[in-house]
């Protein structure tokens, strides 16, 4: 042990500097925490089954509801991806597969996975469950609105699923819904299908706004005593910033959905120029298809970070807990999250380099896009520097985190290809793009979701998920997903365009047949492997090992509830008081390798040996 580690004063100063910038020294004065300024909120105590489990106002139950419904839509999205891969790998094998069906599956898969699965899961699911627990609140600040938020989401999903059963089927316009084709014949589902999609999206945005206000205001107003902003777990920072982005970005989606609905139903021409269709000039004129693209991507790009930022936050916490080491560069991590969030509003047109917008925009958006790579890279460095000289548990949770780092760095690097305007020209609209965004915002966030499930399941259900099953689940998913998307980049180099129902026999595309078969087989296996988790959950709920309080020896407040799983109101009679950041792992001089956020400096148990 080096000398400085023997000095208690140095130790306290180190950790307190980061947390508060405050005074050093382990005197009882440091235990002081400012009293609460407002009284505790009154909670609605549910008694009936319906108010407890259906129209429930407890954020934890709402979180689980969001989680389950998002998972359901995710499974629908997964099945759709199987059907697509069936067609791409083995064309003609499924007799019912027409081009119309294929494009409908592509569209619904994309929209479901991005909006109804990932966004709902991260913000609605993890946000609801974790924010109040992690900031030390009894519930969200507006529990009633929170309940309505979930049920709006429920209706949105119901409307979306209904579109599978209307005449003409769901929309097959591609998830980007680019007009004019979206609402014209020649695109599958251009009648009822697209209308239901637009209605469903509008409902989603309305419901999501209700939830989002809750997440933001709970973080800003309902933190417990001592929980300063710079003592919040990065999970909360990630979800909070993502919510702010969502509040600013979703309105763009809402207005474009409304404008497109008007174009479709009332014959306005927001996005519709003069169009010749089947020899007839349609009654549209003067609108701009590119305007829609600007609106869509003004939503769509921040949307990428609405998914990514919570994943960044969560993975930081998981790595820190399981490496038994503080997250490296906490302040840098916070500012990187905020900075990435702010920058994400200035990069949208990098999706539109070859859209026909004024090409001079390319210079601006390429520059902003590559600037965003800097704070993102800093986050990656900090994750791996957190592992450096840690004491790393190689358990299922950590495996998912490591899988995240590999896939995220891989997908991030290919983002530099696509962001760099002239490099994007040959690659845009090819399989390189598909491979890039699935790696970076499909697989990487999914790795975090899975890690988070294995990490927090003991809190939610009170039992530990099976590690052996978990490791099988991880390796099949990680190796499988990597072998789907890594080779797929090379299809993009060949020039294979995306959204092709069939490749035919272009000379340079026939070489891709073998790879397409391989990718499809891998996709079937990876998809099927997800059912290992469902099996694991069912098995664990029946016979799993009891988790007890704080099985991972974590510091953040969600593990210090009055009961496990936490009850309504979370913290029993008294709200916790926070004395430190959540990353006091392996503090020199302390006996245990973790110090809970609730432990005041005077109560830290020191090791005797090191004082000699």
């Amino acid at each position: 042990m080096s000398e400085e580690f023997n000095d208690n004063k140095t130790i306290q100063a180190q950790s307190s500097e980061v947390m508060t910038g405050g005074a050093a020294g382990a005197t009882p004065d440091m235990d002081y925490v400012r009293p609460a300024e407002i009284p505790e909120q009154d909670l609605y105590h549910a008694h009936s089954f319906i108010t407890k489990w259906v129209f429930c106002q407890d954020a934890k139950v709402i979180g689980v509801q969001y989680f389950l419904l998002a998972t359901f839509t995710g499974i629908v999205g997964l099945i759709l991806s199987w059907l697509m891969r069936l067609q791409l790998g083995f064309p003609g094998l499924a007799g019912f597969m027409t081009a119309e069906h294929y494009y409908q599956f592509v569209t619904m898969h994309g929209m479901i996975m991005v909006v109804y699965f990932l966004t709902a899961l991260f913000l609605g699911g993890f946000g609801n469950y974790l924010i109040p627990l992690m900031v030390g609140a009894r519930d969200m600040v507006f529990p009633y609105v929170n309940m309505i938020s979930f049920w709006m989401f429920f209706i949105a999903v119901a409307v979306l699923m209904a579109s599978f059963f209307v005449p003409g089927g769901p929309t097959g316009a591609g998830w980007t819904l680019y007009p004019p084709q979206t609402i014209l014949e020649g695109t599958p589902g251009s009648g009822m299908g697209i209308l239901l999609m637009l209605i469903s999206l509008s409902l989603f945005v309305i419901g999501f706004t209700m939830g989002g206000l809750n997440y933001m205001i709970t973080v800003l107003q309902a933190r417990t005593r001592g929980m300063t902003l710079m003592r919040m777990p990065l999970t909360v920072w990630g979800i909070f910033t993502a919510t702010v982005l969502a509040m600013l970005a979703f309105p763009a989606l809402l207005v474009s959905a409304i404008m497109m609905t008007l174009d479709k139903v009332l014959g306005t021409s927001f996005f519709m120029p003069t169009i010749l269709k089947a020899g007839e000039v349609l009654e549209y004129g003067g609108g701009s298809p590119i305007l829609f693209q600007h609106l869509f991507w003004f939503f769509g790009h921040p949307e990428v970070y609405i998914v990514a930022l919570p994943a960044f936050g969560i993975v930081s916490d998981l790595i820190s807990v399981h490496a038994r080491k503080n997250i490296f560069g906490y302040r840098m991590m916070v500012w990187a999250i905020v900075g990435i969030g702010a920058l994400s509003f200035f990069v949208w047109a990098h999706h539109m380099y070859v859209s026909g917008m004024n090409p001079w925009f390319g210079f601006f958006f390429a520059t902003t896009t590559l600037i965003i790579a800097v704070p993102t890279a800093m986050k990656v460095y900090n994750w791996i520097l957190t592992l450096w000289r840690g004491n790393i548990r190689i358990n299922t949770v950590m495996l998912w985190c490591l899988g995240f780092i590999v896939t995220f760095v891989n997908g991030g690097i290919t983002g530099i290809f696509l962001g760099n305007v002239s490099v994007d020209v040959p690659l845009s609209d090819t399989y390189f793009v598909i491979a890039h965004f699935h790696m970076v915002m499909g697989i990487a966030p999914l790795m975090v979701i899975m890690g988070a499930v294995y990490h927090w399941f003991p809190l939610v259900a009170g039992r530990m998920l099976d590690e052996t099953l978990g490791k099988w689940h991880f390796w099949i998913t990680f190796l499988g997903a990597y072998s789907i998307y890594f080779p797929m980049h090379y299809l993009g180099f060949i020039g294979v365009p995306r959204r092709y129902f069939e490749m035919y026999d272009s000379p340079y595309m026939t070489s891709a047949v073998g790879m397409n078969e391989f990718i499809s087989l891998a996709a079937f296996i990876v998809g099927a492997a997800q059912f290992i988790l469902i099996f694991n959950i069912i098995k664990t709920l029946k016979t799993g090992k009891a988790a007890g309080q704080n099985p991972w020896k974590a510091n953040s407040l969600e593990w210090y509830t009055s009961t496990v799983p936490p009850e309504h109101g979370n913290f029993g009679d008294r709200l916790p008081v926070v004395h430190r950041w959540p990353y006091d792992f392996s503090v020199p001089g302390a006996k245990d390798d973790f110090i809970p956020q609730t432990t005041p400096p005077s109560e830290v148990v020191h090791t005797e040996v090191e004082k000699t």
């Binding site: 120029p273 390429a366 520097l385 000289r389 490591l402 040959p426 129902f501």
Partner: protein, 278 residues
């Protein structure tokens, strides 16, 4: 097996895949070899970062895996290290951005001697129009399009009548002569894309978009629509043939002008009327 070994094999496999892949870009057949070079540069820098980060991670997994009696280091921040990493990353990113922007500047600056080609797209097909002897294309409007005027050329535009119409999905190009592709669409978004030329741009109804390239390899290439345009998207193909000058001129001379097309159509109409009278 130790997790670190599997992760290592994944990284090793990725590198080997990249070296030995039979799937890689087609030979470039235009002046945009610079795009390939920038991709190669990005591969070296980005691939290097990917490998370095992953190897560092794998090293940590081996070296610092959990031991009961060991304690992790306590080091919340290292300002100097963070500063070095920020500066190094910024420099790396700037080094990749610079060539990208330089090439983009060329991409948006069309050479003066470029031959203009009007590429007209619809669901689901292409046709092409070249300027006639006056060297200028006549203006067009979607509303003018009918059987007698398949390109919708404005009849009062004097530049229009000698325009050369190529009513086929195949177009010929002169080798080593820059072309400015002027894209328009009568219905939805399309994109005229030839992988070997590297370049592409969407055709947007209601406006004319453009890009340019200089073909430099004689041969036939397939045109693909690269912007989703409805259920026939995947079948919306065409052909380009790049020819040496003399053969190209031969081909051009065989094509019809707008004036001769109109005359022919009128002739057909007259004969039809005669037939009807009989």
């Amino acid at each position: 097996m130790h997790a670190g070994i599997i992760f290592f094999l994944v990284i090793l496999g990725s590198v080997l895949f990249h070296i030995f892949t039979p799937w890689y870009w087609t030979d470039v057949a235009s002046n945009w070899g610079g795009m390939d070079d920038t991709i190669t540069l990005t591969f070296w820098v980005g691939g290097g970062v990917f490998i370095a980060v992953c190897l560092f991670m794998i090293y940590c997994v081996f070296k610092f895996s959990y031991k009961e009696n060991r304690k992790a280091e306590y080091k919340p921040e290292d300002k100097k290290l963070e500063k070095i990493l920020t500066v190094a990353t910024t420099l790396g990113v700037a080094a990749l951005l610079a060539p990208g922007l330089i090439i983009w500047n060329q991409y948006v600056s069309v050479p003066k001697n470029a031959l203009h080609i009007d590429v007209m797209a619809w669901q689901w097909g292409w046709q092409y129009r070249l300027p006639g002897n006056d060297g200028k294309l006549g203006t067009t409007s979607v509303r003018n399009i009918d059987d007698n005027n398949p390109f919708g050329i404005n009849l009062d535009d004097p530049y229009g009548s000698d325009d050369i119409l190529v009513m086929s999905d195949k177009i010929n190009l002169k080798n080593n002569r820059p072309v400015k592709i002027l894209l328009r669409s009568v219905d939805v978004l399309h994109n005229w894309y030839v992988p070997q030329f590297r370049a592409k741009m969407d055709a947007v109804p209601g406006t004319v978009t453009y890009y340019w390239f200089e073909p430099n390899k004689v041969g036939e290439y397939e045109v693909l629509c690269a912007e989703y345009c409805g259920v026939g998207h995947y079948a919306m193909r065409g052909m380009v043939e790049v020819q040496e000058e003399n053969k190209y001129e031969e081909w051009v001379n065989e094509q019809e002008t707008f004036a001769s097309y109109v005359a022919k159509q009128k002739n057909i109409e007259l004969q039809e009327k005669k037939l009807a009278k009989k």
